[in-house]
């Protein structure tokens, strides 16, 4: 499904700020894999995700989705395959446009826009039903501007937009990190439901170890631009946080000291 082969990415090469963000990283995802990604600051989690999404090009290696080599494709072309939800709730939607307009744009993800009218009556009912499932009271606010919504509502809407026409790959970059715990829980629940319903192949970065263990069928931990732990199926199910910590120490030779990585 997703094939990331020997990719490397160095930021600011040859300067004092040189940062090897990804080092010869390889990752294969099977169709329907729901992978949680953890790791400390600067481990390369977001760099990995942005490399796959095409925010920047990689220095080396190749990225293949469903048999198509997308390594050289610009970001907007990869949108055909990839749905994304960002950490910042402001990033995934156009604040000055209506909920309906945002959904209409998302419903055309990866297709060339035409001179057809953007908001169609027949879409409206479909959008309303989908919004109803979010259970956030958005179904009656189709013509409200997205800027009026709370962070949690915007994040749920972004999630809906990213999965509106099922992407081959869903990328979630700490998409609940900026939300309060209750809202985060709700958005995570929605995420789980949507991924299950459409069997979406998903990469989810989280800084919360408990979430990383609770969700998905596979867990990877990154350190220094490499994957140091990769557990699947039963192995992952039986995993506990202390296990994970000791595995990290063994694999990286470091003690995990990271304020942002939540243990509980």
């Amino acid at each position: 499904m997703l094939l990331v082969e020997n990719i490397s990415k160095t930021f600011h090469p040859g300067t004092i700020n040189e940062k090897k963000a990804l080092q010869d990283l390889t990752l294969h995802l099977k169709s329907g894999d729901f992978v949680t990604v953890i790791g400390g600051n600067g481990a390369g989690k977001s760099t990995l995700m942005n490399s796959i999404a095409g925010v920047f090009s990689v220095d080396k290696g190749r990225i293949v989705i469903d048999g198509d080599d997308i390594t050289k494709q610009p970001e907007h072309k990869r949108a055909k395959y990839i749905g994304r939800v960002f950490q910042d709730p402001m990033m995934g939607t156009a604040a000055g446009m209506m909920i309906e307009e945002n959904l209409a744009i998302a419903s055309r993800r990866g297709r060339m826009p035409t001179f057809a009218w953007s908001s169609k009556e027949e879409d409206r009912e479909h959008f309303r039903l989908l919004l109803q499932e979010l259970d956030l009271g958005l179904e009656d606010r189709l013509s409200d501007k997205v800027g009026l919504l709370s962070g949690g509502q915007r994040q749920a809407l972004t999630l809906l937009m990213a999965t509106l026409n099922q992407p081959k790959l869903l990328l979630l970059d700490e998409h609940t990190a900026a939300l309060d715990p209750k809202t985060a829980e709700k958005v995570l629940g929605l995420t789980q439901n949507i991924i299950r319903r459409y069997h979406l192949t998903t990469l989810m970065i989280t800084h919360n170890m408990r979430d990383a263990l609770r969700f998905g069928n596979r867990l990877i931990m990154m350190h220094d631009g490499r994957i140091i732990i990769d557990l699947e199926g039963r192995e992952k199910e039986n995993l506990t946080i202390p296990d994970l910590l000791s595995m990290f120490e063994k694999a990286s030779g470091n003690v995990l000291d990271n304020d942002r990585m939540l243990l509980g």
Binding site: A79, F86, N102, R108, A116, S118
Partner: protein
């Protein structure tokens, strides 16, 4: 005073096309595009030159639109493909257009005296000069306003609007933001050039210096319109900008009547725009003080 009413209204309508162009870059694309300072006289120069050569007013105006659109595309390429900051890209095109405009006209000023213009064409239906300007202003503003409303409601138009709000988001939805920015600048500067072409015909001349201050007049119209007439929806915004352009002309007519020397107009407009742009800050301070009390 009353005999100034219709001409002032008409001027407001002719300039409204320019204001719509500025609205498109400044608000929709979120770019302060200085190309307009060059594309406005470009429209005037192209139209005047063609009219002098005996071409029809319609040909002259349409060619002006194409020329203005091209100027916008150049700024767009400088900004998106060559990564030059938008403000600087606009300045570069604006400066370049000064030379282009001189070349188009062959001299600094081209008179349209005794040349058939779009207004003399309308006068043949028995209208006087002021009425003909009003009719053309009304028709062109309505026509281009409706076209804009339609276009920005289409899938492409929605993508351009979303680009202005959030480039990251619209790229994640598969839209090439370089393309949408270039199209936006094209349409904006085409509108500005049409406005220049109409103003030149209404004034009876095209002048290489007539673009100075275009951006500020455009901004003044946009801001006045938004404050007085609202920003609820895209259609509301378009109407607000047109009305803002008209109100701006009345303000200018008023201060001139009150005895302000015409040479001070640009200073006045700049102060007006600076004041309007800083309004949110003042408002916040005042609200903040109220809240403390």
């Amino acid at each position: 005073m009353f005999d100034l009413f219709l001409p002032t209204l008409s001027q407001g309508l002719l300039w409204a096309l320019m204001a719509l162009g500025v609205y498109l870059t400044y608000r929709v694309l979120d770019i302060a595009d200085l190309t307009v300072e060059g594309s406005f006289p470009l429209g005037a120069a192209v139209a005047a030159s063609l009219l002098v050569e005996g071409f029809s007013p319609l040909t002259a105006i349409l060619t002006a639109a194409v020329a203005g659109g091209l100027a916008g595309v150049i700024t767009g390429i400088l900004h998106t493909k060559l990564k030059i900051p938008a403000l600087l890209a606009g300045i570069l095109t604006m400066i370049a257009l000064y030379s282009v405009n001189l070349r188009v006209m062959g001299k600094a000023n081209l008179s349209l005296l005794r040349i058939d213009t779009v207004f003399s064409f309308i006068r043949e239906f028995g209208l006087n000069n002021a009425q003909s300007v009003f009719v053309i202003g009304l028709v062109s503003t309505f026509l281009f306003g409706a076209l804009m409303y339609w276009f920005f409601g289409t899938e492409i138009g929605a993508a351009i609007r979303a680009t202005g709000y959030n480039q990251q988001m619209i790229r994640a939805q598969g839209i090439d933001t370089n393309g949408t920015i270039i199209i936006g600048l094209l349409i904006s500067n085409a509108l500005v050039a049409v406005s220049g072409a109409l103003i030149a015909q209404s004034n009876g001349f095209a002048d290489v210096g007539m673009g100075t201050g275009t951006i500020v007049i455009g901004l003044a119209s946009v801001i006045i319109g938004e404050v007085l007439f609202g920003t609820r929806s895209f259609r509301n915004c378009l109407i607000s900008v047109v009305l803002g352009s008209i109100v701006y002309r009345f303000v200018i007519a008023l201060v001139l009547q009150l005895g302000m020397p015409p040479n001070d107009l640009k200073l006045f407009t700049s102060v007006l725009v600076a004041f309007a742009l800083s309004m949110p800050l003042f408002k916040k301070n005042i609200d903040g003080r109220r809240a403390v009390k």
